[in-house]
Symmetry: C2
Subunit: 138 residues, 2 copies
């Protein structure tokens, strides 16, 4: 038996959106995230600190890879997913203003029982996007 | 206009699984990840370094929160999602053996054009779980 290594952390979180232009306008435009890879109509990937947010078009990723050198397994979910970005309390206040200025409705904003704050909005595909203080978990 | 803050990184990545016991057996048992929160039948959360993997039962999270103090927005996707954990090349070799020992089929293993290695398996819900070297992106 081989012991499992210690997990180094999430490197990529994935969301799904059929309209990748709208996703890029939201994550890359409004939120200011740097696009690290764009391959339309399949995906747009965004840098998030030392992690990457992958936004996939499930119509494309549900098909098997046609490339024998890069046999990326098929996947693709439907319906609203979820991701949470780390943010300080001050940054959460700034995000609130960024979304208000852009006319993006806030889904919720509250303090968890341990005092950590979370703010939630929806991306154009309906995914639930959260900003939370790291002390929610650490 | 408020400028968007710099994103601190992904804090939580989410997957969906109706059978949370099977999910816990995979992530908590086979993969050795520490459970940080378990609220059945809604969710099981696992620590992944300085990030958290959230596994939600979409049958439960698609309903609105009934708690006015914690108005967590509804979400819930169906079909195979994706997550990627950071791992060194040696750790990827160890993961290969962990899954082989457990009879979990490998979906794929290859080097990307920049030389970074990836290994893919499926969790019991069919989500595509990847282990990749950080230099894939950074």
């Amino acid at each position: 038996m081989t012991c499992p290594p210690q997990i180094g952390g999430v490197l990529e979180a994935a969301l799904y959106a059929e309209d990748l232009a709208a996703a890029e306008s939201f994550y890359g435009g409004l939120m200011g995230m740097k696009v690290v890879l764009r391959l339309l109509p399949r995906h747009v990937f965004f840098r998030a600190g030392q992690t990457v947010l992958l936004v996939f078009n499930p119509c494309e990723t549900a098909r098997p890879s046609g490339n024998p050198d890069l046999p990326v397994p098929a996947h693709g979910a439907r319906g609203p997913g979820h991701v949470c970005f780390a943010a300080t309390r001050d940054e959460i206040a700034a995000w609130r203003q960024v979304f208000r200025d852009a006319g993006v409705a806030l889904d919720a904003e509250f303090d968890w029982p341990n005092g950590a704050r979370s703010l939630y909005v929806r991306d154009p595909a309906g995914n639930s996007v959260e900003f939370a203080e790291r002390r929610l978990w650490f």
